[in-house]
């Protein structure tokens, strides 16, 4: 079976005051139907830019796709017209954002915002769209959906607003749902509810999910495969379990071990947390022919500063872009 989404050698450039910087630098990956793939990394590593690139929503005049292909169902989205992209967005690929507070329109009721998608993409009548909006609210487990359909976003809690966003995103049964930090702004018990909801919806509808996050715990709970991004490039890719068991890139290892993970048989012992020194490089340093992580890496050697590492494969399902991956 061929992949649902196949991204080949994608390069996205942003124009900044310092010149043109490659925020995504030669990225390739595939997504199968019904799969959950996670992008992980610190802020400024290009996770959200990848999502916006797929959606054709790069910031106007600042960002552009400078090379590569995004093949979706046999169609190259990098060559698609704006009109065609509008058809695809919301219908075949849809997206939910981090801030459920600001991504809904405050002056329309949630019912109108869900029904709008159905009318625009599926040509439903006003009445039919409204009825289906109520069903969708029920599907995302908002209690008393017929009573809440006339609510404005401010009348709902953060978790409920994120459910409305999910209802809008799923209104047309998309093949791919991109979730950009869907629970970062939410409390942990609400996060658990949203994760459960996404898992159930995926099981029922077969929607593939691309989840962008910085939380390894969330990745472990939700995703089957993950791609660790660093400074616009892939650092490591593979099955979540395999990577968590033995990361092959020093950055992945740092990301996993720098967080105090919760455990349920706690002891008196408290180790000093592993630090990843320094911070993500600024955009102007992206795209150099060297390992961009070398400056923060305890294992870096001369070669790392002289040449961009190529991928080393471990088994069939793990690849790390590191010169010293064998030693990690």
């Amino acid at each position: 079976m061929s992949a649902l989404l196949s991204v080949q050698n994608l390069r996205i450039e942003l124009t900044t005051r310092d010149g043109v910087a490659p925020v995504i630098d030669d990225l390739s990956f595939t997504l199968d139907a019904g799969e959950v793939l996670s992008f992980v990394g610190e802020s400024g590593c290009g996770k959200s830019m990848t999502a916006l690139g797929i959606m054709g929503l790069l910031p106007d005049r600042i960002g552009r796709i400078a090379g590569g292909q995004i093949m979706f169902d046999g169609e190259d989205l990098t060559k698609a017209s704006e009109k065609r992209l509008r058809e695809i967005r919301g219908n075949d690929i849809s997206m939910i954002f981090q801030e459920p507070m600001t991504s809904l329109n405050p002056v329309y009721t949630v019912g109108e915002q869900i029904a709008e998608v159905l009318r625009a993409h599926q040509g439903l009548s006003k009445r039919a769209a409204w009825a289906q909006a109520a069903e969708l609210l029920d599907a995302v487990r908002i209690p008393n959906p017929r009573g809440r359909i006339d609510d404005y976003p401010f009348q709902m809690s953060g978790g409920q607003r994120q459910r409305v966003m999910i209802a809008i995103a799923l209104a047309c049964k998309p093949k791919i749902l991109i979730a950009d930090e869907p629970t970062t702004a939410l409390d942990v018990t609400v996060q658990a509810q949203i994760f459960d909801l996404l898992r159930d919806l995926r099981r029922d509808t077969g929607t593939a999910i691309i989840m962008i996050t910085h939380d390894m715990g969330a990745v472990a709970e939700m995703a089957e495969r993950m791609i660790v991004m660093y400074a616009g490039r892939r650092a490591e890719e593979g099955r979540v379990d395999t990577i968590l068991e033995h990361p092959r890139h020093p950055y992945t290892r740092g990301l996993v071990s720098c967080v105090p993970h919760i455990t349920d048989h706690l002891t008196e012992a408290r180790d000093v947390l592993t630090e990843v020194p320094g911070i993500v490089p600024s955009l102007r340093d992206f795209g150099q022919d060297q390992c961009l992580f070398a400056a923060r890496c305890t294992m870096a050697e001369d070669r790392c500063r002289a040449q961009r590492p190529s991928a080393v494969a471990f088994g069939t399902d793990q690849r790390a872009d590191c010169w010293r991956a064998e030693d990690v």
Binding site: V188, T189, D215, A220, I262, D264, L266
Partner: protein, 325 residues
């Protein structure tokens, strides 16, 4: 082992805000953000207050620091009741407790150089000679891992983690006994969080600091605290030392909260029965009678929605507010 005496003892603290529903002419009602809360922090240790947004954890800390007005209760720092102080005495007492804020971007004055930001508390407390202050600032910069020449830079020239280091240096300038850390790492990237958490623990050892640590991140709390108070809707529902709280939580809300944390540990995921708590917290202005958690609690019985359970000691040092424990 002798239990160290409490440095901070908060008793029956309440903070209420007036709210008007339905326009200017509507009747005034009260929202109790913090409702009859008592806890203590032992000298040299860390008490974490955890809870979800709206639980009142930050308001509690702000009230202790006299940054919002408490409506009732007391907060003794040593022998001084912070809530009873006024005027000059209050100003003097502020040197003894300092705050580290959540957002390192908005909590530093953008027009001051880093050195001046750290020196400002010293200038306002004027108990040292001006000449000595520069020496103190130099030592603080070194203690938080910043280079001396960085004193001349402005906040926008620093990264988020470095800014939080400046905030920490500023908080330590007056040699406070108590440092309140309000979500000190939640605005930072994961890799930078570890740097700041390690720094806070090292400084605690070096200077014998006592922390009141506010956080919603239970992994961070587990790493940092010596004891924990769990808040829900303005009340403490469970208060215990680190090991009993995380290993044998007793309140259904604590159990649910802990089980909701996503984990990278495959064994824990397989073992954990996630306790899903449905729905949302009740309206804080019209609180239902009885236990505030009853409408979401998987174990609730009839009496839970009739009378409110008091916080009582079920084992030495382990307090729970639940009828069923």
């Amino acid at each position: 082992m002798m239990t160290p005496d409490p440095l901070l003892r908060v008793q029956n603290l309440s903070v209420r805000f007036a709210v008007r529903r339905g326009g200017f002419m509507a009747a005034k009602s009260w929202l109790y953000a913090v409702d009859d809360v008592s806890f203590s922090v032992r000298r040299g240790e860390t008490l974490a207050i955890v809870g979800e947004s709206g639980s009142g954890k930050t308001t509690t800390a702000l009230a202790v620091a006299r940054l919002v007005a408490a409506s009732a209760g007391s907060a003794h720092l040593g022998d001084t009741d912070l809530l009873a102080l006024e005027g000059e005495a209050l100003r003097q007492a502020r040197a003894r407790l300092q705050f580290i804020f959540q957002d390192p971007y908005s909590s530093l004055n953008p027009r001051l150089r880093a050195g001046a930001i750290v020196r400002e508390p010293l200038d306002s407390q004027d108990n040292t000679a001006a000449g000595d202050r520069q020496g103190t600032v130099d030592r603080l910069f070194q203690a938080v891992g910043l280079r001396p020449e960085q004193q001349a830079l402005f906040p926008h020239q620093f990264s988020g983690g470095q800014r939080q280091r400046i905030g920490i240096a500023r908080a330590l300038a007056t040699q406070p006994e108590l440092v309140i850390c309000d979500e000190p790492v939640s605005a930072l990237d994961v890799a930078v969080q570890a740097q700041i958490l390690n720094l806070l623990r090292r400084l605690q050892g070096e200077f014998g600091l006592t922390y009141l640590f506010i956080s919603h991140d239970l992994g961070v709390v587990q790493h940092m605290c010596d004891s924990v108070a769990v808040m829900y809707m303005g009340r403490i529902v469970e208060h215990a030392d680190r090991l009993p709280l995380f290993n044998t939580p007793r309140h259904p809300y604590t159990v649910a909260l802990l089980s909701a944390v996503p984990s990278v540990d495959k064994a824990r995921r397989a073992r954990a029965q996630r306790v899903l708590i449905p729905g949302d917290p009740p309206d804080p202005v019209n609180l239902p009678p009885g236990c505030r958690f009853a409408n979401r609690c998987p174990l609730a019985e009839a009496r839970c929605s009739q009378s409110e359970p008091p916080l009582r000691e079920i084992a030495p040092g382990h307090k729970v507010a639940c009828h069923l424990v």
